[in-house]
Amino acid sequence: METIRATIEWTPEIDRFVLWNDDLAGRAFVPEPFGDVTDNLLLELDEHEQETGRIVGVELAILEFDRWDDLPKLDLLWQLPGQEPLPLDELLRREQRRLRQQVARAASPA
C-alpha cells in the first residue's frame, strides 16, 4: 500500500483542517465533496486541468466532523513527520481527539 508523506494545516478559530500530501504541495486541485460541503478530497489536476488520480489533500472541519461512514475508503497510508503511517480514518480520528483536547486545554482557566 502506498504511503503519503503528509502534514496538517489547521486554523483553530474557524476549525479549518487540511491533511496535505506534501509531495504535491502547490499543485492545482479540485474538491471532490463527501459528507457535508466542508468535507472534500482535493484531487490533483494536470496542466490541462485533467484529474491525475492523485490526492493532494483532505479538507474538513475536524472538531465537528462525525460523518465517518462518508469518508472515502482509500488504498493509501498517511504518514505525518515522525509518526507511523496510518489509514485515513485512523489518522483523522487520532488528530480529532488531539485537537479537541488542545482546544479544551486552551479554553480551561489556568
Partner: protein, 149 residues
C-alpha cells in the same frame, strides 16, 4: 511514536506557506505578489453581489492560494467573490456560495464556504460536474441573483 517537535503538530496556514517557499515548492515572488494584492484589494474585504462583505484574513489568503490556479492568478479570489450568484445554507451556520465569471473565452466556476461572521473558510475553483454534485446535496437556497432580462 511521538511527533517531531514543530512538525508532527498542525501548522497554521502562514507557517505552511513559509515552509513551502523555503523548500522551493512555491515561488517566493508569487507569494509576495499575492500579499501585495491582499494589502491593496482584499484586506478590507470583498463585497458579494448581495451587498455582504466577505472578510479575508492573511491566514485565509495563505490557505486559498495553495492551489496553483489561484497563486498563479490571485485576482481570481476577488473575481470569485464579486461574481457570486447563489448562496446556500450549510451546517454549523456556514454558507456555501457559488460563483461564475468569464476571462476571455474561459468560463470559471468557484465554490466558496463562508463562516457565520462572513469570514472566508475556503474558495475552490470547480467544474460544472462538481457544482452539480454540491447542489444535489440540497442546501437551502437563501439568496440567488435575479436573472437579467
Amino acid at each position: 511514536m511521538e511527533p517531531e517537535p514543530g512538525r508532527g503538530s498542525a501548522e497554521p496556514p502562514r507557517e505552511r506557506i513559509e515552509r513551502l517557499v523555503a523548500e522551493g515548492q512555491m515561488p517566493r515572488a508569487a507569494v509576495e505578489q499575492v500579499e501585495r494584492l491582499w494589502q491593496e484589494r482584499l484586506r478590507h474585504g470583498v463585497t458579494m453581489p448581495n451587498g455582504e462583505l466577505v472578510r479575508i484574513t492573511l491566514d485565509d489568503l495563505y490557505h486559498v492560494i495553495v492551489d496553483s490556479r489561484i497563486w498563479r492568478h490571485p485576482e481570481r479570489i476577488e473575481r470569485a467573490i464579486a461574481h457570486v450568484f447563489e448562496i446556500r445554507r450549510s451546517h454549523s451556520g456556514r454558507r456555501q456560495a457559488f460563483s461564475r465569471w468569464t476571462k476571455g473565452t474561459k468560463a470559471l466556476l468557484a465554490s466558496i464556504i463562508l463562516e457565520p461572521g462572513n469570514r472566508l473558510w475556503s474558495l475552490h475553483l470547480i467544474d460544472a460536474k462538481r457544482m452539480r454534485r454540491y447542489t444535489r446535496r440540497g442546501g437551502e437556497i437563501i439568496w440567488r441573483q435575479s436573472e437579467r432580462p
